[in-house]
Amino acid sequence: MSRLRPGETCRVDFSRPLEFSFLGREMTGYAGDTVASALYGAGVRIFGRSLKYHRPRGLYSMEGESANTFMSIDGVPNECAETTELRAGMAIEPQNVRGDPGRDRFGFLDAFDRLMPAGFYYHLFHRPYALWPLFQSGLRRMAGTGVLDPGAEYRNGVRTERYLNADVAVIGGGPAGMAAALAAGESGLRVCLFERRGRLGGQMTWRVRDFEGEPLYRRAGALAARVRAAENVNVFTRSPVTGVWGENLVTGFAVGTEDDPFRECHWECRATTVVVAAGCMDRPLVFNHNDRPGVMQVGTAWRLARTYGVRPGKSVAFSVADDLGLEAAIDLDDMGVRIRFIADARESGQQGPEVFDALCDRAIPFFPGCAVSRAVGRKRVRGCVLRSLKGGRSRRFRCDLLVANAGMQPRIGILATAKARLAYCTHTHGYQPTELPPGVFVAGSMTGLRDPRSIEASGRVAGYGVAEWCGGRLKSVAGARAPAREAEALPGPGAGCGIIHAPAIGRGAKAFVDLDEDGTYKNVKESIARGLDVPELAKRFAGFGLGPGQYRVAGQNLAMIMADLRGDPVETAHPTTVRPPLGAPSLATLAGPGHDVHKRTPLHSELAGRGAVFRRAGAWQRARHFGDDPSCRDEIRNVRTNVGVLDSSPLGKFRIHGPDALNALQRVYMSDMSKARPGRCKYSAMCNDMGQLMDDGVVVAEGPGDYYFTTSSARAGDTVEWFRFHTRHDDWDYNLVNLTDVLGSLNIAGPNARRVLERLTRDNVSNQAFPYLACRRITVGDGVEARCLRLGFVGELSFELHAPASYVPYLWDLVMEAGADFGIRPFGLEAQNCLRAEKGHVIIGMESEQRVTLTDIGMGWMWDREDTVSKKVGAPALRACDRQPGRLNLVGLRVEEGAKAPRDGTLVVDGDKIVGYVCTTRSSDTLGWQYGLALVHREHAFPGRRIHLCHEEAPGQRVTSTAFVMSPHFYDPRGERLRS
């Protein structure tokens, strides 16, 4: 099909043809085409089929306002052909089509619309109920658009995210938006301008009407050049806004071109102020068969011709209700498109006499007070029926394109997401903001302005308004007021057209209010008849506005028609709530780049080199075990009989200093922390207000008012806040330094641990010089100074070396070298877990929970009951439930030989009653039997008690086994190995 040559307004480069395929047929478009314009230019008129009735659908809008042109492009479903730029080699398939779009096998459904009234899904096909699953699965197969291939990779291309900060976010790159951006930028503000199209200028880019001596598109070009040159203005094109949120956070996404390094980019702009200049769109005219291929919006036909050089039709009928429609018809006529007639729903109120003169000059028949009432033709428009709005005879015309609208409506979506209050304006006949959120300004044609000078001036007013709002960085207040005075002198909002629908609607034909969900005028009446008589209810009942186009096609019309059918004044109508996202970024874009940023210990590569299997533990990636055996038998045996080394770097490590450091320690720790001495580890625990164990670790005094302490790995990140929170009412002078990352740590454990350490240092580490719970500073290797803590979490002789993290790999090499003769090997978290459980040492969260206190788990000995001065956190709760009956207590379990082995979490039962559960259980090579740590009710918590464990083999299948209660300290209960 031949293309028009529209001149400077055209964005298509006819010298760069692009080959693509539609339904396997090779076609040619041009660089600058969208998929829709290329298809239309290649003669395609039926783009797909409708959701419910499978009616043929064609190109209706150019901004993705309906799902008519949602297509599968290169295997990706639901790509909007109207906004997707054509690329060479694209393979395009229609959606919701069985067979060929022209001869869809489900096209017969159109004749069965009586079976699908409004909300049929809720009340039809449910009787007999036994058949409902059959209907349900059939309906579900029919519903929806597009098909996903579970095996396909949809996350193609680079998806990225960008965070912007600005004083002003201008939404809309039309003349008002550009003027606002320039004014704000000139005032010294940082401006981000977001335009959903590929270039700035809005409607002006395809309008040739004269503006102060030059065509509008040139004016747009000049403004765009100034905006791009402005120092403070950051321009983002192809960047639809998805919503405006609290505190003026504007979100959206940018679609990359072939030259961009990304495919899609989610962006967020934190702005002090927002200027919404989103413009207007056609309000669809509701008339019989208004969905036929060949019925389209004014802007669609106009842009096809002016922007893409595509002849929209050979014989075109216009049924419009505003001046822009008249201007479009005249312009198309000038481009050689035959205009059959123009019907204007307005009796009067058109622009000045020059419009009528232009129509007369071109001999275009003009029918004021009339509108098209019916499109003729089944698979494409062959003609139309014109009627006067006052009634009377109809007249039939032949045409192959019907351009129709009911006037223009503002794009209210962005304002709605910003929580602006909107009300119907009886002058502009559109929804206008009556109350704007703080810092949000509106400009341009969405305020009802039609004169290009007024639109631009409104942008300048908004631009200086935001400058004033942002703190008066204006050069002068007078400078700000000048545009306001200028705007006042220009034409104000134009009168709109209040037509609700075309005459003679219904009468055996379908008149669509919502194209996406096949929602008809009749469906609106059915909703009202069922009592669902407001748009919000009709939306949920009949699906109006639930399709991809959301409010754009159905929104204002639905509210107006419902008010009309109820007999209410149209100004009482409220549109349905517009919900973000307003655009449609891909899920891959919303998911983001998916970087896995986590913490690694200083020894990560060393451990990986030794076959460590890593698992996430909070923020850290930690070695769970080494090699293929997750039960870690060899690792455990090596620690029990020889020597092993654990990378315990994630352990929380802190320094607290200051005159009130001891007071703070006394507050959060349960023990008497005044007993913390230099060179000696004081083991203690922290509780919460309910007396539950929150953390444990050791504290070492390092000088007057200066302490070093450790916490569990999991609590390290919360410790500073914990101290600050529990001392917030005391004006205490102390300082905390988190050393968790500063210091790495190695735990050398096992009977040969001392012999390894002796090879590392010249310091005396004998049992006499360095007894259990001692803390020393030792020098290792070539002068690395480390804290060495003699502890015994795993129940063996252990030395924990805490050294600056950057030295730890060096230290590791020394330790492995020194221990090589003994067969030293690393052990991981699972081995540590088994070793400490055999010893009966508690891990917070594994053997403690919200129902148990410090005393319940056998650690009450560390609570300084005499201390009532320091107001220890949790002490009142511990006192209150000290002797409370029915509490859970921590016990050890020995599972009867031959009985089924329990698992972590296995229930302890007494008949039908649950009396506790197993926290940790393992089969121990050291002990030679299956042991466990369990929380059981106090009446069962005495040594020798036989208890029953309930295993659920499968849902409903339960097996019980038996175990005996004993002390949880299974291994070395007297602690002789720790002290050896």
């Binding site: 990225t160 986590h598 690694r600 690395v784 950057s806 030295y807």
Partner: protein, 220 residues
């Protein structure tokens, strides 16, 4: 806690992050292997990411910090203000705390004996973003407003970058330095380079930072 190296110098210490690029020039300094320049770096005009984790840093806390002169440096009056004094930079973090970084090439001070000092060199990964296009790189990483023209550079911003808590000092639009917990260093740097690749970010050696910092008389 500085080791006394015996015999010939050895690389004792390991940085929390490393880059895949091949170093063209390195230097052994205080136990660290410092990359001065990467191969192919000189011809790259765009932004660069420089690992400065070997640079010494201190935490200083005292309830009366405002009236003190830690290491002889004047403490910035307000939170978020940064003082640049020769090779040292002092960041006012809150009411009681400052961070001191040794970034320049001047003399390296020892850790003072005062109680309030804690050396935190090993606790952080210190990264610098140098060159044209740094703002765009950082826009891909954080929602923090690191280039607010209303704030006088250099200034400190504390908040998440790639969801990791960071201290960020903006010296100029082409020079930003940040610290984060050491444990995140490796995976953070990988994510930064991946995110910044579309803005042309590449690893850079210490020399490119030193040049930019030396030019920074504008903020001293």
């Amino acid at each position: 806690m500085t080791p006394q190296a015996s015999g010939r110098p050895r690389a004792f210490r390991r940085s929390p992050c490393s880059f895949d690029s091949k170093p063209a020039e390195t230097e052994l300094r205080g136990g660290w292997t410092v990359v001065l320049r990467y191969e192919g770096e000189d011809g790259h005009p765009g932004p660069r990411l420089v690992d400065l984790s070997h640079r010494r840093r201190w935490d200083f806390q005292d309830s009366g910090v405002a009236a003190l002169r830690p290491m002889g440096l004047a403490v910035p009056e307000r939170f978020g203000e940064v003082g640049a004094h020769g090779p040292l930079v002092i960041n006012r973090m809150n009411r009681t705390q400052v961070a001191i970084w040794h970034l320049g090439t001047g003399p390296l001070p020892d850790t003072p004996e005062e109680t309030g000092f804690t050396e935190t060199t090993d606790g952080h990964c210190l990264l610098a973003f140098v060159g044209d296009g740094v703002p765009e790189v950082l826009e891909h990483l954080t929602a923090l407003d690191l280039f607010d023209p209303a704030r006088a550079a250099p200034f400190l911003t504390q908040g998440p970058v790639l969801h990791v808590p960071c201290q960020v000092v903006t010296f100029a639009p082409d020079l930003v330095v940040m610290t984060l917990a050491r444990g995140y260093g490796k995976t953070f740097a990988e994510a930064v380079l991946a995110s910044g690749a579309i803005a042309g970010l590449r690893p850079g050696g210490e020399r490119v930072f030193q040049r930019a910092f030396a030019e920074g008389k504008r903020f001293s």
